[in-house]
């Protein structure tokens, strides 16, 4: 899904913007002051319509705010100019043809407020006022599109930087043995958050530069271990993931009730899950089988009084090592 951008090569108009989650979020996060044009061309109401023609032609714009004594008194647009041209009245004052007291927006408001005004009115541009009602900018739909695209690009770059930094983690920190340990507390019966820890671990691995195959195998194994903690424990348990450049070690442990017969538990299709749990699609008796398929080594220990500990390991060959720097360094040494 990540590779296919459904909006590639398309202009973001109001309608499309509503279907893009991140763009929508940004419309709430970004302030109008961040996307507006602040050094705009202003014009005075006692100038003539001929001045408007000159300004529009010279600055290649199609509208401008009309300002008197630092106060916004109107807006003049191409449409007003056409009305004026129809009657050949270019000598008239701007005040005769401008739209007085136009719709405005506030600089500190989120972009979504301006989008609402654009959607509900026919205007092409909105003067932007500060808290003292002074004109500080002008906003068009184009400004919003550019602002959103800029912010989206920034988001993308930020994720690239996070990935780059994370993938050089092992190179930047010098020790005899560097590892990164992630711990997650899993609560019993917490189905709503089931899969969250495994999802977060998978994301972390990808940021650290793990191959998609390794991240997927880890994700599946940890998901099954996570669901086992949610379904089968008395008090939930803990997931502990240790990431080293050449190895990922995953421990899932709990304090009860323990597994009666480990050999039986490892059999495909065997499950102790209740009917209620099975109705949700769990308890297929395939969890431990899936884990065995995804990891390179797996040790399951359990005691009926003390609880269960499942230890899993994935060994990464040279092409797959986590942390780009480590891989190239090993390559140089060989």
């Amino acid at each position: 899904m990540e590779e296919t951008s459904p909006h590639k090569g398309r202009l973001i108009n109001d309608e499309v913007a509503e279907t893009i989650t991140r763009a929508e979020e940004l419309a709430y996060e970004l302030k109008i002051s961040e996307v507006m044009t602040s050094n705009m061309h202003k014009i005075s109401p006692d100038q003539t319509m001929q001045d408007v023609v000159d300004l529009f032609r010279q600055a290649r714009i199609s509208g401008a705010p009309v300002v008197l004594n630092n106060q916004l008194v109107g807006i003049i647009s191409m449409e007003d100019l056409i009305r004026c041209l129809v009657t050949s009245d270019l000598a008239a004052n701007i005040s005769k043809y401008m739209t007085p007291s136009p719709l405005t927006v506030k600089a500190g408001d989120p972009v979504i407020e301006a989008l609402k005004v654009f959607v509900n009115s026919q205007v092409g541009r909105l003067p932007v006022l500060d808290e003292n009602e002074h004109l500080v900018g002008i906003l068009t739909k184009g400004d919003i599109t550019r602002g959103l695209l800029r912010a989206l690009q920034h988001d993308y770059q930020a994720e690239e930087v996070r990935r780059y930094r994370a993938s050089h983690l092992f190179e930047d920190i010098i020790s005899d043995r560097t590892s990164l340990i992630l711990r997650y507390t899993i609560r019993h019966r917490d189905f709503n958050h089931g899969g969250e820890a495994s999802g977060n671990i998978k994301r972390a691995l990808l940021r650290l530069g793990a191959s998609p195959q390794i991240a997927r195998r880890c994700g599946i194994a940890i998901y099954e271990a996570e669901m086992n903690l949610i379904i089968h424990t008395t008090n939930g348990g803990v997931l502990r993931v240790e990431i080293e450049p050449h190895r990922i070690s995953i421990d899932a442990y709990d304090d009860g009730p323990g597994i009666k017969d480990i050999e039986l538990a490892m059999k495909p299709g065997y499950s102790t899950a209740s009917e209620e749990i099975r109705e949700l699609g769990f308890g297929a008796g395939m969890g431990l089988v899936n884990i065995a398929r995804c990891v390179d080594s797996m040790v399951l220990e359990s005691s009926l009084d003390k609880g269960t500990r499942l230890r899993m390991k994935l060994f990464l060959d040279k092409a797959e090592t986590v942390g780009e720097g480590y891989a190239s360094k090993q390559g140089d040494a060989a």
Binding site: M1, E2, T4, P6, H7, T19, T21, F191, N192, G194, G195, E196, S198, G199, K202, R216, G219, I220, Y223, E224, M227, L280, G281, F282, A284, G285, M286, G287, V289, N290, R293
Partner: protein, 114 residues
């Protein structure tokens, strides 16, 4: 064949935020109502047909990077599940048809097992 055609031909209801479905080409199809079977059997970017509708299907689909889940037999996920799917970029589709019918139609359209 793309997701837009599948949605149209099977008269599926789109539960998550609409996307440019015509640009999404599922790799294959998979069906099971047992999550661990899906974990072991569904291919990346595939379409999963199930009558499960609780929030964990989204976690499974996100981990496996599935394209879409077709929820059958009129089962309906709750709003929190739909919100989670939007967040993870998983498309949720619904139909009152049974799974067997849906799979048959998908096969007719050219979608195969992974």
């Amino acid at each position: 064949m793309n997701l837009a055609q599948i949605i149209q031909e099977l008269h599926l209801t789109v539960l998550t935020e609409p996307q440019d479905f015509a640009a999404v080409e599922p790799s294959s199809g998979y069906t099971s109502d047992l999550l661990s079977c899906v974990m072991s059997g569904a291919a990346k970017h595939s379409v999963w047909v199930t009558l499960q509708a609780h929030s964990n299907i989204v976690a499974v689909a996100a981990l496996l990077e599935l394209t879409a889940i077709i929820i059958t037999e009129g089962a309906m996920p709750d709003p929190a599940t739909i919100a989670k799917a939007n967040q993870e970029g998983i498309t949720l589709l619904a139909t009152t048809d049974p799974s067997f019918h849906v799979i048959g139609r998908l096969w007719d359209l050219g979608l195969r097992a992974g």
